[in-house]
């Protein structure tokens, strides 16, 4: 069983909601990333989404755009991410790691090589923002053959037909983008999210995780009541940006912010 499935099975048995932090690998520079990952786990992360920096992150708002720029300035590339995950695995063999990013770095490396390196490094799932299921004919099966879950997005604009197809093709969990917009945008309406998740529950048994618009303990707890998992990105990446000049302060801050969310969700 893949670590992601295992983790969600455990959470379900405990009647708890997954907390899924996102950070951009290599931000503010590559030597800090593994330390941040451990700090996030200490603060209660159930799954880690590790962002692959890209020069043209079209679906991201300014916070994650700048994180990509910081990471790229230090030359962070895919092979560094594989090294980071390998190092993370020396101390943590349980927490699932999902690589999240855009297709071009993956295409440039080659699908086969990517799947092989990711799997060997200890990655569990892959979410490629600009690769919807209809373009994943070749990539999806390759990931599967290496034991990697293909994680797909669902959006408020997704039609019922598409949702059914995505639910059928998705693995690990489904990432429900709660807002129309880029990452880091406005706040969200939990009741609306709840209404939108209801028909999806009839289509799939996969955990439904919700991201976009979660910034503190209160919003995390509110979303946690209607979803199986809560994804938080820009709120953490913002803290990394604030601490970029004094990176030693970042890990404790991340722990504090994520810890607040964990406590609010478990209360």
């Amino acid at each position: 069983m893949n670590r992601i499935d295992q983790r969600f099975a455990t959470l379900k048995a405990q009647n708890r909601t997954a907390l899924i932090p996102y950070i951009t690998a290599g931000d503010p520079s590559p030597e800090y990333t593994v330390g941040f990952m451990h700090a996030l786990v200490d603060a209660g992360a159930d799954v880690i989404e590790l962002g692959v920096p890209f020069s043209d992150p079209m679906a991201d708002g300014p916070v994650i755009q700048k994180a990509c720029e910081r990471a790229l300035r230090h030359g962070t590339r895919l092979h560094h991410l594989f090294d980071m995950v390998r190092e993370f695995r020396r101390r943590d063999t349980d927490t699932p790691v999902v690589l999240m990013g855009y297709l071009n770095p993956v295409e440039r490396l080659g699908y086969d090589a990517f799947a092989q390196h990711a799997s060997e490094a200890g990655v569990d799932g892959v979410l490629v923002v600009d690769m919807p299921p209809e373009e994943a004919d070749e990539f999806g099966p390759l990931l599967k053959s290496h034991g990697l879950a293909s994680i797909f997005l669902l959006a408020p604009t997704t039609s019922e037909d598409r949702a059914a197809r995505i639910c059928a093709q998705g693995e690990g969990y489904l990432y429900y983008v709660s807002l129309k917009g880029v990452t880091g945008a406005a706040t969200l309406d939990v009741d609306a999210v709840d209404r939108q998740l209801t028909p999806l529950r009839r289509m799939t048994d996969l955990p439904l995780c919700v991201g976009f618009g979660i910034r503190d303990g209160e919003s995390a707890a509110a979303v946690g009541r209607v979803a199986d998992g809560v994804v938080v990105g820009s709120a953490l990446v913002n803290r990394i940006a604030e601490g970029a000049d004094d990176p030693a302060t970042i890990a404790p801050t991340l722990k504090e912010v994520l810890g607040d969310m964990r406590r609010a969700m478990d209360a």
């Binding site: 890209f54 020069s55 043209d56 992150p57 079209m58 679906a59 991201d60 708002g61 300014p62 755009q65 790229l72 590339r77 895919l78 855009y102 297709l103 071009n104 770095p105 993956v106 295409e107 440039r108 490396l109 080659g110 699908y111 086969d112 090589a113 923002v129 600009d130 690769m131 919807p132 209809e134 373009e135 070749e138 990539f139 797909f152 997005l153 669902l154 959006a155 408020p156 604009t157 997704t158 039609s159 598409r162 995505i166 983008v177 129309k180 917009g181 880029v182 945008a185």
Partner: protein, 414 residues
């Protein structure tokens, strides 16, 4: 080179090239719809709307009427006799897209997409622009239809193209300078996509070139192919046969596809796409993904030849012309390169400026710097051909917007 996608396009027979893309928007291994989920629905919707209207006689009649009465089509096919004589080879004919309302071929497409926007009932349009020609053409149709209009433009291009920026503002559009990335066309497109994903319910995105996710490469090509249909008929009428060669500049590639597409199955007509050679292909400072054999990649919703580094990060591009300063290229061009239907070459900045000055002085026609790339290659090609042969060059836009740039190169402040 990447080990995927594994398709070797050189050994596949794609049959009649006019029948592409396939139902999923693929031109062989290129094209497609690589977008985040939020936009998938809007693109499916646009595809449905367009396919239903594509052969609708009323829609076609409305489009043709706008092109005739608002744009001023057909544009002439002009025999550049003095320039041809000077080059001492083939006869050069200029397809005068510079005479269109707003001064470039771009308006053919914005008229078409504005009609789609009107059918969709969306009150707001957005666009990305490089040189500003597409932005001006979008602001123009938005003014005419009473639509709210916002144009994203790289901050560097806002500096390079001040006249067009002010033109757009006079037309009532908001011009948003984009400060991210390299502050050029690709960044403007990123920002337009971010706007669209946020405002998809009430906003129609008018993409200016034959790139982007399906169905944009298809519909932008279709709306621009009026250029090639006219050129084909005018060739038969004015010199009694099809041209021996076609030449057009290629950034994203919309004017080239517009000219080439109606000729693509006329296998005896040679076609040349001219990319921006910048400081020269060997310097790495250029915007010529096809001519430089860049690897395949995915950006802005489609797979194509794409300038990127080993790690897949998009490369910086360079060109004297803002409108060609783009790291990718329309996916249909990518396939046409692979199957050998079109030869893609590059003209560098120096050659382009020389062609710009030569046409201005010999024919009294000042070309856009983008179009001057096509002229620069015609200068190379014509002397290798006989005087009874004919070359049609797409003069895709006029050069008024570039006067400041050229003056700057001459060391003159105006």
């Amino acid at each position: 080179m990447t080990d995927s996608p594994a398709t070797d396009t050189s050994v596949i027979d794609y049959g009649d090239l006019t029948r592409l893309p396939d139902a999923r928007g693929h031109f062989g291994p290129y094209g497609g719809r690589f977008v985040s989920e939020t936009l998938s629905f809007a693109l499916e919707d646009l595809e449905k709307t367009y396919l239903a209207l594509r052969d609708d006689p009323d829609f076609r009649a409305e489009f043709d009427r706008d092109l005739a009465q608002y744009v001023g089509r057909p544009s002439p096919l002009y025999h550049a006799e003095r320039w041809s004589a000077k080059l001492g080879g083939a006869q050069i004919w200029l397809k005068r897209e510079d005479l269109n309302h707003t001064g470039a071929h771009k308006v053919n497409n914005t008229i078409g997409q504005a009609l789609l926007a009107k059918k969709s009932g969306k009150p707001r349009v957005i666009a990305e622009t490089g040189a500003g020609q597409h932005g001006v053409a979008t602001a123009t149709v938005a003014a005419r239809l009473g639509l709210k209009c916002e144009v994203y433009m790289g901050a560097e291009d806002v500096q390079r193209q001040k006249v067009n920026v002010y033109r757009m503002r006079l037309l009532g559009a908001d011009v948003v300078p984009v400060e991210s990335g390299t502050r050029t066309l690709k960044d403007a497109m990123n920002e337009a996509l971010r706007d669209w994903v946020t405002n998809v319910d009430d906003t129609f995105y008018i993409i200016g070139t034959v790139a982007g996710p399906h169905p944009y490469p298809l519909l932008v090509r279709d709306f621009n192919s009026v250029v090639g249909r006219e050129a084909r008929a005018q060739s038969l009428e004015q010199f009694g046969r099809l041209p021996d060669a076609l030449v057009a500049c290629v950034g994203g590639g919309s004017n080239a596809l517009g000219l080439f597409y109606p000729f693509v199955e006329d296998r005896e007509v040679r076609m040349y796409g001219v990319e921006a050679g910048g400081d020269g292909l060997d310097t790495g400072r250029h915007a010529a993904p096809l001519a430089s054999n860049a690897p395949r990649g995915v950006l802005h919703g489609n797979r194509t030849y794409l300038m990127s580094d080993e790690g897949g990060q998009i490369a910086d591009t360079h060109s004297v012309s803002a409108g060609l300063d783009y790291p990718g290229v329309g996916p249909e061009h990518a396939l046409w390169k692979d199957v050998g239907r079109v030869e893609y070459v590059a003209a560098n900045d120096t050659e382009v400026l020389e062609a710009f000055r030569e046409l201005t002085r010999l024919e009294g026609i000042m070309p856009a710097l983008e179009s001057a790339h096509a002229l620069a290659h015609a200068k190379v090609l014509a002397p290798t051909m006989r005087p009874d042969q004919h070359i049609v060059v797409n003069l895709s836009g006029r050069g008024d917007k570039d006067i400041q740039t050229v003056a700057g190169i001459d060391g003159i402040q105006i």
